[in-house]
């Protein structure tokens, strides 16, 4: 630590060069931070409060095929299933097709029993929802997005479900709002609107008695795989076979369908850091080359070879760490913008930034080692003579 002023001084020997190098490393780590966070978000999706105790049962052959409502009773009898609820895909938007609304028809009692303690709803709002047939509970973020008010009526366009009169527009009364307890789920739930399954089932002109999918909560998460296969075996060889999987896996499988996002991100970061190695390596080489006489003086003063090696390596480490921390901090501040730009529903987490420090240390070793070794092997006489 006592050599810190010396390292600091040598780092700033050529201000322009150091600043430019620092800035390129900052840029690289800014990209690293953003892309890694996105990758992390894709690999750890927030699937609507998907704890380890949640299962989801869909039609085995296609998520677009429905399942008979009558399965509810059979699923309920499976030992280990603590709660069951049923939901359908409503496919709604508000005014324009870009204004997607994740509108879910829910069976109030079983839905909240299953997702107990996940939503924050005031007692008054919950009471209003339970007693209003056309009522809707809306995420506060969605209320703000469209400027909706409690007490107002909101028409949603379903791209699938026609009402009995043939209309695709459904009107709801906003009776209350909710937010989610687990803040990491806020992104995933930000466009959710909950309304009554009874209203949906009575109102639609076709598909009555069928549901989109079932959700289950199991009492022992360790048993969830076994319970899942027990549920599926109930309906084996029927015309509507089921596929039950942990809700997390369901969300992951969906994201995997987008493509190998991890590969794309790693390829981009590979290109970024490959070019960065050259750039920083070149800077370190140059800076040591220019300082050969000075390094020889240090050795003359009694600095040992390992000490000189350490000095150069520390300089490289300081350069990389300084820039990496700045870059990662910068990426943390731009993450909200990235989220705004189209990754809503993905919760971006700071946990993905930590490996960045490791990468910075690795980078500093790779670029610092060749010049450091050169400095260590330097012969005092040659160095003082300015010979390289």
């Amino acid at each position: 630590m006592k050599y810190f002023p010396l390292i600091w001084a040598t780092l700033w020997r050529r201000k322009t060069r150091t600043i430019l190098t620092l800035l390129s490393i900052v840029v690289a780590f800014l990209l690293f931070g953003v892309l890694e966070t996105v990758d992390y978000a894709f690999a750890h999706p927030g699937a609507g409060g998907a704890g380890a105790d949640k299962l989801i049962t869909t039609n085995k052959y296609s998520i677009t095929l429905s399942l008979p409502f009558s399965y509810t009773q059979q699923i309920r009898t499976v030992p280990g299933v603590a709660a069951v609820t049923w939901i359908s895909w409503f496919g709604a938007y508000y005014q324009e097709s870009k204004n997607f609304v994740f509108a879910l028809p829910i069976d109030t009692e079983s839905y909240f029993q299953l997702h107990q303690d996940e939503f924050i709803v005031s007692d008054a709002d919950m009471h209003a929802f339970e007693t209003t047939r056309t009522g809707a509970l809306v995420n506060t973020a969605l209320m703000q997005k469209f400027g909706w008010k409690v007490g107002g009526k909101v028409p949603l366009h379903s791209t699938i479900w026609t009402q009995k009169n043939g209309a695709l527009d459904w009107t709801f009364d906003i009776v209350g709002t909710f937010s989610v307890k687990d803040k990491t789920q806020q992104g995933a739930q930000s466009s959710t609107l909950l309304f009554h399954y009874e209203m949906f089932d009575e109102g639609r002109s076709f598909g009555k008695g069928n549901v989109g999918w079932f959700e289950e909560r199991v009492s022992d998460p360790l048993q969830s795989a076994a319970i899942g296969s027990r549920i599926d075996s109930l309906f084996a060889n029927s015309s509507n076979e089921t596929k039950t999987q942990p809700a997390k896996d369901f969300a992951l499988a969906f994201i995997k369908q987008l493509g190998d996002i991890g590969f794309i991100i790693r390829a981009i970061l590979g290109a970024v850091f490959f070019t960065l190695l050259f750039l920083t390596g070149n800077t370190m080489m140059q800076s040591v080359r220019e300082r050969i006489p000075e390094l020889a003086v240090l050795k003359t003063l009694g600095f040992s070879n390992p000490q000189v090696l350490g000095l150069v390596l520390s300089e490289s480490l300081l350069l990389c760490l300084l820039a990496a921390v700045a870059g990662l901090a910068l990426s943390y501040t731009v993450l909200p913008i990235v989220k705004e730009a189209g990754l809503q529903g993905l919760e971006l987490s700071a946990a993905a930034l930590a490996p960045g420090i490791g990468v910075a240390v690795l980078l500093s070793l790779i670029v610092g080692l060749p010049p450091a070794l050169r400095a260590m092997r330097l012969n005092i006489v040659d160095g003082l003579a300015g010979k390289r």
Binding site: V27, S62, L65, T159, A253, L258, D260
Partner: protein, 392 residues
């Protein structure tokens, strides 16, 4: 002036081999930016190309009003009859409408590379399929037969998903379906699909209605009359679109997203590469301070010095740009991938590194070079001659 410029530039370039390390920083930095930019944009170009190739201006697609996509839509048999009799619909030799009434559904099929389930489109098609879509040709096996559980698979789907080659058996809804052949279709979206007889699919899915009607028109110009007739018909509530505009709308969101992501990443990388170029050129100028001062002393002007530094940077960037675009082309042109398209189903497409993209990449390279070379060039031109000479 021009003579001076040539003399200095040639001299600078001759000394390049001595500054290989610093110069390669510019080349490699810019090659990285261009390679990433071109590869990412090649995805959006490829995806758009696949969807843009799906459809002809003289073909129309009819959906239930307000449905947005085939998967959500529902038309009755009566609707199909009305559509068949609308003006502008092409007729075959027997006087029947060239129309395919279709059912679109998605089925789970494992992806070839990961083995995880993916949604692919199973499209029930009408008897006039080959007249409506003449671009469809079998490359292997035979056509499916109606009334038995047989499908044909698109070449894209066969390559990207497991168990779709001719002779394979698919288990769908408690019944076995045989793949009897593989078809190609001009590289369009249907190559990502499975096709089967519409009535067989309908009975397997217990569906009475249809998702869409695809109609061949007598000419592209007949579209307006056809659309007007259907949208004003009180018996119907439908949306009528030309096929190309229907598929273009499906590609819009994804291509926009890819373009934003690609450009943002490339801009950030370009800033990094520009710092690298600045760094290299500043040290190049510093190392040549004496040369430059000597040239100025013997009568060379400031602008040839400035221009020569700019030219050197530009040449290095150009090399970087060409290398980057070349890398993207070598590794990714024609690379086949699949993603979830607008309609909840996988779309198989190829990355396309087009000449236009390569030009874009090289333009970016030159811009980075111009910005990275300008300030060092300015410093070179403003170098105080006397002071630089005295520094010897």
């Amino acid at each position: 002036m021009f003579k001076q410029l040539t003399a200095i530039t040639v001299m600078n370039l001759r000394t390049l081999p001595q500054r290989l390390g610093a110069s390669s920083v510019i080349v490699i930095g810019i090659a990285g930016v261009v390679a990433v930019l071109v590869s990412v944009l090649a995805m959006s170009v490829g995806f758009r190309h696949t969807l843009a190739d799906s459809g002809r201006a003289d073909r129309a697609i009819v959906l239930r009003g307000g449905s947005d996509a085939e998967l959500n839509s529902n038309l009755t048999r009566e609707d199909i009859d009305v559509i068949s009799n609308a003006p502008g619909v092409a007729k075959d030799g027997a006087g029947q409408a060239v129309l395919s009434n279709e059912i679109v559904s998605v089925v789970n099929v494992p992806k070839a590379d990961t083995g995880t389930d993916a949604n692919i489109t199973l499209r029930g098609v009408g008897a006039k399929l080959l007249e409506v879509r003449p671009e469809l040709t079998l490359v292997d096996g035979r056509m499916f037969h109606p009334a038995v559980r047989e499908v044909i698979a698109g070449v894209g789907a066969v390559n990207q998903f497991r168990g779709l080659t001719t002779g394979s058996v698919l288990h769908l809804r408690n019944a076995d379906w045989t793949v009897t052949g593989v078809f190609s279709s001009n590289g369009d979206i249907h190559e990502s699909e499975l096709l089967a007889d519409v009535n067989t699919v309908g009975s397997a899915l217990e569906r009475t209605g249809f998702s869409s009607a695809v109609v061949l028109l007598t000419s592209a110009a007949a579209f307006d009359a056809f659309k007007d007739a259907l949208t004003t018909d009180p018996r119907l509530k439908v949306d009528v679109q030309r096929e190309p505009s229907y598929y273009a709308a499906q590609s819009q969101q994804l291509t926009t997203t890819i373009n934003i992501v690609g450009n943002t990443v490339a801009i950030i990388m370009a800033i990094g590469a520009m710092f690298g170029a600045l760094n290299s050129m500043y040290s190049a100028v510093a190392a040549r301070g004496l040369e430059i001062a000597t040239l100025r002393a013997i009568g060379f002007g400031a602008s040839p010095v400035l221009l020569s530094v700019m030219i050197e940077t530009l040449m290095l960037s150009l090399i970087g740009g060409v290398i980057g675009a070349g890398l993207a082309w070598t590794f990714f042109n024609g690379h086949t991938v699949s993603t979830l398209g607008g309609a909840f189903a996988q779309v198989v497409f190829q990355l396309r590194v087009t000449p236009a993209l390569i030009v874009t990449g090289i333009v970016w390279a030159c811009l980075i070079g111009l910005l990275g070379g300008f300030f060092p060039a300015l410093r070179a031109a403003r170098l105080p001659v006397a002071a630089a000479l005295r520094a010897v």
